[in-house]
Amino acid sequence: MREELFMAGTGGQGALLAGQVLTQAVLEKGLNVSWYPIYSPEVRGGTTSCAMVITDGHVGSPISGRPTTVILMDARSVQQHIERTAAGGVALVNASLAHEMPPVSDVRIVEVTGTDIAIGLGNERTTNMVMLGAYIGLRPVVTIEELARALEAVLPERHRRFLDLNIRGLQAGLETCQEATDDT
């Protein structure tokens, strides 16, 4: 098994944190993992993305030109990155913010209204967890329980009060995505 995941959004959307939570969960599960952040120069509001490799073998390159899964959290990310998706891969898109899909072939596009779901849960900032929950619906590399444990380990002390909200985000994402998957 070798999963090459690329996750992108606007700074503040939490793509990096979602990636770190997944990385922690994968480590706990005993798989090999690497996580690499790519920042734009702005501290806030620029584009941020992270690249992960999850494998039961040798990680080798932490960089992938054609990730097997991409998670794109806003319209700009979709425009910039959806074409990178490997043939036969999956693009998981936050359909609340991205409405137009550039034409891609041999890529399965899964649309999740991540931001709307997060607002429904009471906080737009948990969009990243909704998308991450949706991701493990599509690629069950770890379970939701494993992600919840990882969240506890990764969340900084000052954000502990958001732990419940984040777990509900994961749950809602997972459920939505299972529905979305069933639809297709």
Binding site: Q20, T23, Y36, P37, G60, P62, I63, S64, G65
Partner: protein, 353 residues
Amino acid sequence: MSEYVLMSGNEATAEGGIAGGCRYFFGYPITPQNKIPEYMSRNLPEVGGVYLQAESEVAAINMVYGAASTGARVMTTSSSPGISLMQEGLSYIVGAEVPCVVVNMVRGGPGLGNIGPAQSDYWLATRGAGHGDGRCLVYAPYSVQELHDWTARAFEIAERYRNPVMILADAILAQMIEPCKLQPRGQPPPLDKPWAIGGDSSERPRNIINSLYVNHDEEEAVNRRIQARYDQAARDDLYYSEYGDEDPEILVVAYGICARVCETAVERASEGGVKCRLLRPISLFPFPSEPLAQWAQLAHKALVVELSMGQFVEDVRLAVEGRCPVELLNRTGGNVVTPEDVTQKLFDMAAES
């Protein structure tokens, strides 16, 4: 896996320094390595050490020089523009024959460049140490674990040769997070080196740490003594690793992050029927010329992959000495070579022959 913790390359480097007995850190902030001074500022006081933020990289390396003169284990870290500024101090440190460790998390250049990954300080690292005949001993880890382990080990090597050791990595290795098994925090050796200044000098001859030799013959003798240490390092502290097929059609040569990319590419090329051997120099100075030459003799052609306009490739060509043609695949300016790029190149090269 519980003995492993997730850590960024920057943090693993900093903790590697502490594990290696480093108790003194002088530095100046520059992206993408700021997590190292931040980590040191939190952790060094806990082990009775000193973290000090200097007014410039110029000052930082001279503080390192001062601390190194006392025999202390001392380090600084920076990224490309900062390493340029440290060249003056490095030259004095080499000339005065004191040990220290310097980490360069290379970023895109020249000039202010950008904060993306690059390997365009290869010449600065391997030829550098400022003016004069001196050089740094240079080691290039390729994972978070290796950043940790090599930084810890670097102090011992620096002391063995009384010469600065540079750990050369890049913005990706600095910031990527991987599982890392941490070494215990080692105790620094005592300060009482026979050459060191400081302490009580009443019961021994006074010591002078100096790089001024106005007598030309004396200066030449110093240069030959330093060179003899480099020659010894080429025998005793030369490191490289190999990956892939035993009877390669193509020899792939890369270090640091590019070697990671090449491992995946070599696997894929191999699956596609193109036999490749990856040789990864870990020590860049001393350079593993002999094993490279041996593999170049066996292979039909060689491919060098690096994130610069072609610096590392020159050392490879010097080592290969025309035994086989050497091609270069590169990206620069903060861009990276992907496994897909390298795999395609290997297929193309195989198809040409």
